[in-house]
Amino acid sequence: MRQHRWQSTRQHAGPVNRRSGPPAYGADEHSHPTGRASRTLVSDHAACLWIPLFPLRCEEWRRPELVGLPAALLAPTDTRRAWLVSPVARRMGVQPGMTVSQAIGLCPPLTLIEPDPVHYDETFTQFLLALERVSPVIEPAELGRVFVGVDGLERLYGTPEQQIQVIAHAISGKGAEGNDAVLRLGWARGKFLSWIAAARAKPGAPLVIHAEHSAAFLARQPVAALPVGSDTHRRLQQLGLTTLADVARLPEPALVSQFGGEGRRAWRLAKGLEVEQVTGRGRPEPIVAGLDFPMPAADRLMLAHAVDRLVERALSHPRRTGWRVQTARLRARLEHGISWTTDVTLKDPSADRKRIAGPLKTRLELAPPTGAVERLAVEFVAFAPGTGELQLFARDADSAARAGRRHALHAAAREIKTRFQHSRLFHVVEVQPWSRIPERRYALIDFEP
């Protein structure tokens, strides 16, 4: 893999902000909760690959008869509402967020599709794996949108136009028949500019913005292109600012005084002064979740239950975010100092508990440990790139509320831990709920956010 070669030979390669050359490296301290920094790859120049309405496109690739029909994908958490709407349906008046009855009323031939988030995520992962063969610097932004770091690729593939062709070729046929018709590609310096270029590009006609044209290109863009909050967008429009040129003409202090840090960022982006690098990541180190049994356990059901819990805990590790598990290992320490282990390599890398725990439990059933288990551990040893956790559902209001509650709970737990030096909060977990011995049924485990 090219990524490994970079890591081993170019670990301390040159300055981060150079214009071209091989990808540079920086320490990503946030990605490693233990404080041991993993290496990251960065690139100034970026190719942005965007497939609008990606989940809907996945359905069309899977069911070609849907192409050209008015179709709507239902919301993952509220199947009474449309979530994504095909262009044909949109032309007939159907809007995202409408109830099914409203949508059918406006467009009787509308085809409604139940969402299949796991399939969309898997398809996107195939894209990412294919792009890794082109460049070691890959940064998924959301389902269907990914930045590819292209610094240094000119020596391998030639001009930006040729690089774009290589990228498009790499993903052709990756579970996406005819994706040229929907694929948009933009090439420019920095993620912001490349994203705008991709958004302005027509399907099958990539847009390359060279440095000498970037200022003029930026100036023509509407303020809606700025990645700022909706309130800021509204106020910018109320102030009569319609293009980035209007924003760039203002003095920086004026925007800062009105919008604070967001205003400064908007001004710098509009002026082309802010170049956000594409940041790739080295694959995470193995993640281990272990469990000591109060009494050695031989019961298969109990062990299977423990595997479920351990996989869940390992999946929630922050280092796993943005990665899917390719290889998982189950290790057991048995009575009398014996050990037992088994590995499972998933054909389709997954971040789904059932898909990871299932094969492990099958192995446990087919070739169980030869004695009672004192300690059981699940280890994720190999990863494949994936999207950020639950991105697909982030647009849903309920999910946002749940995430907010989780965030508040975690903040409270951290505060308690800071005050008392160690966690005073516990989860109640089932250990052997069927046991005839009451103290074996449930246990407490430290709650660590």
């Binding site: 979740a289 272990g290 469990l291 000591d292 049994f293 109060p294 050695p296 009672a372 160690h422 966690s423 516990f426 109640v428 977990v429 250990v431 005839r436 011995i437 009451p438 103290e439 074996r440 049924r441 449930y442 246990a443 407490l444 485990i445 430290d446 660590e448």
Partner: protein, 114 residues
Amino acid sequence: MVPHSRAAVRVDRLRALNVPTPVAVTVDDDGLPVEVRPSTGTVTGDDTPVATRRPAGPPPSSGRITEVLEVWRIDDEWWRVPITRRYVDVVLDGGAHVVLFEDLQTGEWFVQQP
């Protein structure tokens, strides 16, 4: 008192819930409990001590037993360290509902929540 080990608290260490607490139990001629008291080295039918370990804190329940609801016995884990217990589900004076058990290996009595 055992000094603190200074060892870090293990995140993955389970703590058992509903751990049995030693108590002193007075039993009648049929071996059924009639009174539960803190384990201070008391009791049985004729004031013979049956529980010798002092509990870490006050027992969760104590008092005279007004009703014996159920009696059962378990024999488990005979292949390792045998567990042999006689459970008695009782209601205490005042209405508290607790489960007592006698460890038939040692003769000690314990109280647990049902």
